[in-house]
Amino acid sequence: MSLYLAAFGFGLVSTSVLAIAAVGFTMQFGISNMINLAYGEVMIAAAYASYGLNNAGINIWVSLLGGAVFGSVSSYLINRVLYAPFQKKGTALIGMVIISLAASLMIANVLLPIVGYYSVSYRQNVGPTFHAGSIALTGVQLAIMGLAIVLMLVIHSLLKLTRLGKAMRATSANPTLARNCGIPTRRVIDTAWLITGALCGVAGTVAGMNSDTFAVASGAGFLISIIAAAVLGGAGNPYGAMIGALLIGEVTEISAAAFSPEYKEVAAFAILVLVMVLRPQGLLAKRGTLAAAG
């Protein structure tokens, strides 16, 4: 039992990392109506950007900011230079998903010769370990959880309280209508990519902080958990992604404790399949974006 309790504790940390990542991912889907398969690779690239700073002797939390900026700018550029022009050209969904997978591979393989194949780890002081029953978490892990909560609240206020948030929701629901109502959709979309890119960068770095090591090859694994969380919560829905992250984060850690850590992502996959069979529109789906029209 204590084993599972400990796993539950780790699950909360995984949830925090995953929530930051999945909210960014799902918001990109919502605003641009496309699945950005390069998301996992941008996360890794940002984690390495933070690593570069950290390795140069800068404190990890400051480096984290650098990672956020890196993720933000590179996501913005990917959308502006690659995705948006193709969408403007009228490229169908089927083409967009291939383009984003191609982009993902290109990022990974530009990154590889630069950073190498080997795993790296941050220089960080993980702080004292806190115990609550059989749950044992380090200071860094608690800090990651705190950061995730803060970021979720920020996103919530952004969406619900600011004009930008309203414009983003309107653009997400119906871009043509939003444009006709005088919303500068292009600027809104650009801003959304900057914000979600920052989330992506933060997520990459905290993922690296939470695990002992990371490498370029970790990107695909990240992506699977993110997709599972986002789909579970109904793609395009940030609140759904948060709940999805909680479920996926806990299930992967607890199944890792129950079976074997190698199969962590298999649990995420099993949930994904179940959702696709039983409730293709997701748990909290509002827009029915997942199901084919008609």
């Binding site: 509002k286 827009r287 029915g288 008609g294």
Partner: protein, 275 residues
Amino acid sequence: MSPSALEPTAGSAPATGTGLGVAPQPMMTVRNVERHFEGMRAVDGVSIDILPGRITGLIGPNGAGKSTLLAVLAGTLPASGGTVTFDGTDITEWPAWRRARHGMIRTFQLPSEFAELTVLENLLVAAPNHRGESLRGALLGRRYWIADERREVARARELLARFSLSAKESEYAGSLSGGQKRLIEIMRALMLQPRLLLLDEPMSGVHPSIIGEIARYLEGLRDGGLTILIVEHELHMIERLCNPVIVMAQGKVIGQGSMIELRRQREIVDAYLVG
């Protein structure tokens, strides 16, 4: 066709007749049909009868739920509630393709041509019961299905000639004008020799001279016994072709009858029939 008396309102007394004194069985009966989008009731408890051998008009302001209702009748959107019967059979749960095989064919409000197929191929796709259309037929080779192909090519060319599109048969459908795409869709539907034709704004974007052509053709089909439901904003076409006409607003049926009768009803005029 004799001008019709007032049609019964939904779900009330049986049809009072067509002028010949015979009460026709409705071809399609729609009862309390609903369709929700995220709690928004696009179609909100619609009950109508579609009588055989008639062209029924469906009009209403933008967003009234006309297209949604048509999609629910054709099965391309599942209903959130209510029942649809066709020829006495409850088809509410039937998928769209099954309804189509039973003769209910719809067209779409937005162009839905197969862009990278030629015009002739667009029509041929619609051909029913083609031996070459299964994997097995394809593997058995050309000789197995060529007779069917010839038959269907001939039928498709007849239709193309009737709509003066013969010259375009080898062009990509995606390269046609909006009006020509509309025609393709109508011809595609006709390739299937439907029993109930559900048309969603078949005349929008079509050149005025061709609108007359379509109207004449639809009248011919009706006189040949085909039942048609048509959603249209072109009111004079509705007036010419349709009896009865059903008016929808905000997901509900707010009136039905001949166009002349509808014009007499204040609230309907206010809601939609401007002027």
